[in-house]
Symmetry: C2
Amino acid sequence: MEKRPTLKTIGQLAGLSHVAVSKALRDAPDISEATKARVKKIAEELGYTPNLTARNLYLQRSGTIGMIVPAMGDSTAYDLIFNEVSAAAAARDFCVMLGSSHRSLQLEERHCRMMVGNQVGALIVASCTSDVSHIKAACGSTPVIFIGGKTDPGESRALLCDYRRSGELAVEHLTGLGHRDIVLLTYEPENLTILQKEEGFVQAMEGRGLVPRMLRAGSAANTMRAGMDGVERLLERGELPTALWCASDYMAIGAMNALRLRGLSVPGDVSVMGHDDLYFGLYPNIGLTTLHTPMAELGQAAVQLAMDLIEGSGQAQLRQVFQPSLVARGSTGPVNGAPSHG
Amino acid sequence: MEKRPTLKTIGQLAGLSHVAVSKALRDAPDISEATKARVKKIAEELGYTPNLTARNLYLQRSGTIGMIVPAMGDSTAYDLIFNEVSAAAAARDFCVMLGSSHRSLQLEERHCRMMVGNQVGALIVASCTSDVSHIKAACGSTPVIFIGGKTDPGESRALLCDYRRSGELAVEHLTGLGHRDIVLLTYEPENLTILQKEEGFVQAMEGRGLVPRMLRAGSAANTMRAGMDGVERLLERGELPTALWCASDYMAIGAMNALRLRGLSVPGDVSVMGHDDLYFGLYPNIGLTTLHTPMAELGQAAVQLAMDLIEGSGQAQLRQVFQPSLVARGSTGPVNGAPSHG
DNA sequence: TTGAAAGCGGTACCAA
DNA sequence: TTGGTACCGCTTTCAA
């Protein structure tokens, strides 16, 4: 467990001061080529790596950004977003500190404090509540960028998705296929996203002179179950529509399951649409028509915004709204369509 | 964008030296209570947070550990492991730097170098190849703990899962239900884990005087597809067994799909088992019998080992092997069992 | 009870 | 072309 070599270590071996070594390694113009070569050789042999925290301490910079999420995986999209954040940060020589708050306010705040203490230049936070006063207090002057479904729409630094637009796109697609009887299946609105989808749906339906029907079944904790329950309830009441739009892909998968268990075909008897475009890969035999939310782009934009805030450049795009797009696969079809193979 | 307050800032306001402030905030015994109270009040008002990198620089400590994975999500278990690592690290006042290598050797090495430069005390790496020489070179004297399916079994610091034992458990469970004709469905062995499952399966079957049958169908890139293809091939050849053990849960879900599409019932006609216990939640109506791998425990153990290595305590458990356990749900049943509801 | 000095590993500035 | 000195923010040691 020998100590890591420092500039001084190298200097001693080379018979130079640590200052000269520092310059030599950074190819300063005022060091002879011979010395540079000698110094670099020694550094190489010793496996020298500069202590970036010391460098950043002096330069008053940060080489890291932080990210805090309620949980990785667990049917969220934060894994996708993180992969992009990691790549975009690495491209700018930044490391990412990531924390899982396990949906605990205390842990969320703790992560904030620890990361701020560890000098992250900026923080990307998917909070577990809409009230983020504890986060802002913990972060002090460190800039915070909010993402995720809990984000207050009035938040000044936030990357959002336009879920009202999702409603418009869903209705546009389904009515384009001739559907007029459409039900939106949602769950208990823990996030604002659900309310926004509902709003967009109602507005789009009414704008076309159609009657919007909605059903909230179950909770965010298990939306596949909620999708199945929703279909069961509609069947019991004899109120099955010709098309279902589900608030999540999991929910849509659950709905399709329930329909098939009752011997109904998708999209032959009922068209089914989802939202998020995260899980279609699970079903190689059933392409789910869904609304893609550009999580990769969001991750990249978050890093770009973080960098702008760190550099204090005035032209940072503080608020950005990302638009969903339709991904038409096989689970939707014309009214009275042919029975599917599924 | 005013600068973060430092000990000196507080000292000026309090009419004290930064040293006295440092002591006061840490409740040193040689500072009067009155001064402490005054200093703490000012620190509070300013929203002071200590610069942990400066502290650690002086103390020659590290407040961070690093973790590098091929990708978060994407049908891996690293999201689960990370959630535990994050919690266990936070409990010890450590932040976690996480990097996604996107299965690129270059990016993997880059993450290593950046994290080592940023003074992580230890690194937990799920490498994207079994040859990890580039990682070791990049890490120098920073201790590395290897996890994941690519880990060389001979690696000295590694947390592994006993996939041979999985084979034994699967065969034990299925033969206990009366099955004698069992097929192991795997895919192209990119990871050593597949080979180990195969070995364990063969040994367990032969130990019971049974003939082990195996089929490799498809690749790790889409194991659900592979599961479906495997079943199709068995059906074409008329070689369907009474029980199928699949190398992953995704694969098992694909296999069940394919069986049901052909009008066969699970477990009535064929029992199906998976491996990993990651995705059963997706199927509320079909409990998948599978082998649980203790990823949460593995994550906690990784952090514990990291701490031991950082502290240089001699009693670190350098190699640990985690055992799978059976999770019996509804997808397996006795031979000639009653038709299922699925 | 308080503070001055030194040092952690870097970099910038200026003198030799 | 080189190296000394000062400094980033913090803690420890030792003297006042």
